[in-house]
Symmetry: C3
Subunit: 421 residues, 3 copies
């Protein structure tokens, strides 16, 4: 995952443009996504797909023709969606178009102006302080024209047409935790599912879309189908830093995705994890959970956007993420997928307890002074009354994965059956 991240890092992405296409094509080398183009001007609910933006170069020259700001050294230097510009100006005039962070004087901020035509540069506060009175030449070699918004989609069919949705966004330039980590983890979740070779229960839908306008566009094209089929899923971001896990709950809370993820987190031997209310949502789950949409999508992260100082700056770079952290997050996602897959509603097949000895599931000598191995079988059976596996595991206070074998034995012996949900 980390080498994919390194390959994707230099590309300048935005909500539209060639950088996004290049990104999607690199992902397509690993998993067979379809790349879809939606033309500028398409109405998508309350929004309109904007013009396509591409940029070749951008810089600011001082009077000695030295580049005091240079897009080539960091694509964060340009306010995303800056219009083509070639002008000469004083320092005072230039300052109106400069953005910086006083509190983080070494960090270049990441900013955008998608829906209001504008141009600007983002620089560190230290660099800003070094700018002298002078005449500056500003060049932004960009293009804003009718084109299209690009996104990637992969659907992996399962035994059921009920779906889990995994969505990540592709619209940020060179930042790792807040954009690339989500893309690489989503790619490798898809890869994991593809390797299961359709033995899985659920159909899996993987999306690589620009944030907000991308999910709105996608929902406007697919809403009815998604509402009927999606039973849960995640927006994936902030997967590569070394912080503890954070789970952002669905809007309605206590939905299947919440129950699955919180079971995985609370039963794994991990350091303190954090749980955040949907109110603090910041990515595409805002659309997926909007009232009336309600796909009940959560988000499993390490340190949440807004909660690390590197967020939306040049410091969210390759050294802020690691293969090890990405793998830890991938594993936790796979643990959740397993829970989704195993989670069935069980019902007993016998009136009263089954005669466990008949099935070789009970010690031949009875009367032991202590609860023995067969006790856990009985305790499991007591709650096979139509509730789901997750509820049984919660009731027994046992990680669900430690009960997978037991549930299979009981199913094989027809002591319990799966009841359709």
């Amino acid at each position: 995952m980390y080498s994919l991240m390194k390959k994707l890092f230099p590309i300048c992405r935005s909500i539209t443009g060639n950088g996004n296409r290049e990104t999607l094509n690199i992902i397509k080398e690993i998993i067979p996504i379809n790349i879809i183009e939606v033309p500028t001007g398409t109405k998508v609910f309350d929004w309109t797909v904007p013009k396509e933006w591409n940029i070749k170069d951008a810089y600011v020259l001082n009077s000695k023709k030295e580049k005091v700001i240079d897009f080539k050294t960091s694509n964060l230097h340009v306010l995303s969606y800056s219009i083509p510009t070639h002008t000469t100006c004083t320092l005072e005039e230039l300052k109106k178009h400069l953005h910086y962070l006083k509190d983080l004087p070494d960090h270049i901020p990441y900013l955008t102006s998608y829906y209001k035509e504008n141009w600007g540069f983002c620089i560190s506060y230290n660099d800003f302080l070094n700018l002298k009175e002078d005449t500056y030449e500003v060049v932004i070699d960009s293009e804003l024209k009718n084109g299209s918004l690009s996104y990637g989609e992969l659907i992996v069919k399962g035994l059921s047409d009920k779906e889990l949705l995994f969505s990540t966004y592709i619209c940020h330039p060179s930042m790792c935790n807040d954009v690339l980590s989500g893309m690489v983890v989503n790619t490798f979740i898809a890869n994991y599912i593809l390797n299961l070779k359709n033995t899985h229960k659920y159909t899996y839908r993987f999306l690589f879309i620009p944030e907000t306008i991308g999910s709105i566009t996608y929902l406007s094209k697919n809403l009815d189908y998604l509402k009927e089929h999606v039973i849960g899923g995640y927006t994936i971001t902030c997967c590569g830093d070394n912080g503890n896990f954070t789970y952002l709950k669905t809007r309605l809370e206590n939905q299947l995705t919440d129950r699955v993820t919180l079971h995985a987190l609370s039963n794994s031997k991990i350091n303190n994890y954090k749980v955040r209310d949907f109110m603090t949502a910041g990515s595409d789950e805002r659309q997926y959970n909007y009232p009336g949409i309600d796909l009940n999508i959560g988000s499993l992260m390490r340190t949440k956007y807004y909660e690390f100082s590197e967020y939306h700056t040049s410091y969210d770079n390759l050294s802020f993420n690691s293969e090890e952290n990405l793998c830890g997050t991938l594993s936790m996602y796979i643990k959740c997928i397993d829970i989704f897959e195993f989670n069935e509603n069980f019902v007993v097949n016998t009136y009263c307890e089954p005669h466990l000895s008949k099935y070789g599931l009970h010690s031949d000598i009875g009367g032991s002074k202590i609860l023995n191995d067969s006790s856990i079988i009985l305790q499991f059976l007591y709650y096979c009354d139509g509730r789901d596996f997750l509820s049984i595991a919660e009731k027994l206070k046992i990680p669900m994965w430690e009960l997978y074998d037991l549930s299979n034995i009981l199913l094989k012996n027809k002591i319990i059956r799966v009841e359709s949900q």
Copy 2:
């Protein structure tokens, strides 16, 4: 309010009689109540409207013709509903008709004997101890005859025929917190509503009735209409002392009146307020919430009856109440009325988030590292899923009144709509 209280203080009131009519007529000078008379003997549910009682004078003379007890110095001296009496007796015989409070030796208690014919005097324990062996002449110049029970009613029509009920009792003689404070606050709530000039949503019903027999009488005449239209309200009493607020919950709890009042109290910057269970109810909410009546009426007070030592004694006088305290209570009632009025069920009008920039509700520069002003708009919208405004404010942990402007902007821009409840 305090000057109205002073004007009403000297009048001797009971559950019937001219004192009540005089009281209602003084209130009528401020708000246009109707005064209704219900004849003695009228059957009202399990009760019967009693005879009307009036009193001109009462005293006890010692053998030197000195008045040792005198109704003219305090109308609490006479057991309410004392029958006409003129007799001579020993101290021992007199004592059978004397009531006092050993624990509060300076206080004259307030007592009644509405439904059993009797006579008596209430005096301070110190005065009781000073009584010597002597021959006493007892005079009670009262009258108990067929007449009527009087009450006041004011209905202020709103845009809807759904109603809020505000009820206070008028049946006690010269006491302030436990009778007059409720009357004056109820009068000025009505005055406030009248000044809104019918722009309010709800219809408001104000009652000035004798306690218990009055509310039972009123309910027996209006029950079906009230059950269909009243959505909440208050019995008003104990509004003028300087204690913290107390809220007495409705019988069924968690009703709209409870939610409104507890939101107002918990979000106002006030000292600790108290909450009391309906079980400790003591005024007309007992009838309004009786099983099968269930108008879901609460009571917002300062110090609750039974919980201050001046209660039902001569010490509950004008110096125990103040204009400032009465105004504070009135303000809190108006805060609750505003919440009732603003509390609508909201639903979003767009699929997915609206494009806030279009409405001038979003900063043009995106990507800020921190939650900005538009975040509160989005957080508000996330919960416009049919739940009521009060629930949204509780979810956002923001006083509802700080969201009134925001809700109006969203309604005006048609981003949300009101769903009929």
Copy 3:
């Protein structure tokens, strides 16, 4: 009860056999149970009634013809359901058939092998250590043949055909807390009910059955009727030790039996009682509460099986139980029965409060500064809105039994009525 326990103590019982019949006949001398026989081979749900087992004698002789193990000294010495055996063996061979408890070296364990043909002896670990290399002669004079399973049943009709079920097991040999205490308490509960001479509301069903196979057999013969009529009840065991009370909840929790028993326990002035989750069930409540059976049966015990070291050993003997402890448990069961009997859904008969003075239920002098006796009447009435007596008592935080008289007065005066549940 203790003398009945002493009479039953010496008998060797198992899940079938003459010991059980002898036991049931002794109980029949006190209460008129029917004794029912179910033939070997009868299919009962997932199980089959096993062969009948009887034993006359069993011992192990050393080469000096000394009895080193002797069934006559304790019937726990023989693994229950040991097949007829007469053999000679070395110490090493013998040891394969010996069972003991290393941690409790003086205790003879109680063990069984009902469903796998086997033979064995249970001895103390100290006795085990004393066994020397020798040639041993093993004699088990038992019989395993087609016969029947025996159980006792007594149904005492009440005014309603709704039933409370009281079930105890009879299948253990000489142990007191874990078998005999349940039998004697169940016998005397039945005796108490019989003495009520059919004035009780519920029909009572008392069962004396072998554990597990007995309740499964009983349910297989009576399931439909029981499901329609049983509203709660208990499995009775572990009633005679001097530990605090323990309540084992029904599988579904918060059922009537749970509410009744926890009300009785929490409102009695007793030492800390314990509550156990159904997951730790160990007796016939496992069957009565199995998913799809759901008779909602709890278990009120003193120290629960598994939780005292004497459990399933020779130390669970007559000195471990006492008449006083048995009586305390019986009293608590009767307290629960009273709650079941008194628990009705009440509704008020009047609109608004009744005029209590008319019924002599209110002080003639009104206006008291403190809540007086009639307050409790009103508080009770406020919650007569169709909820059950138990809920009213819980709301008022008063033991239900302290409200029995009040409820009778209100019913007699027709101020409230019983609403059919």
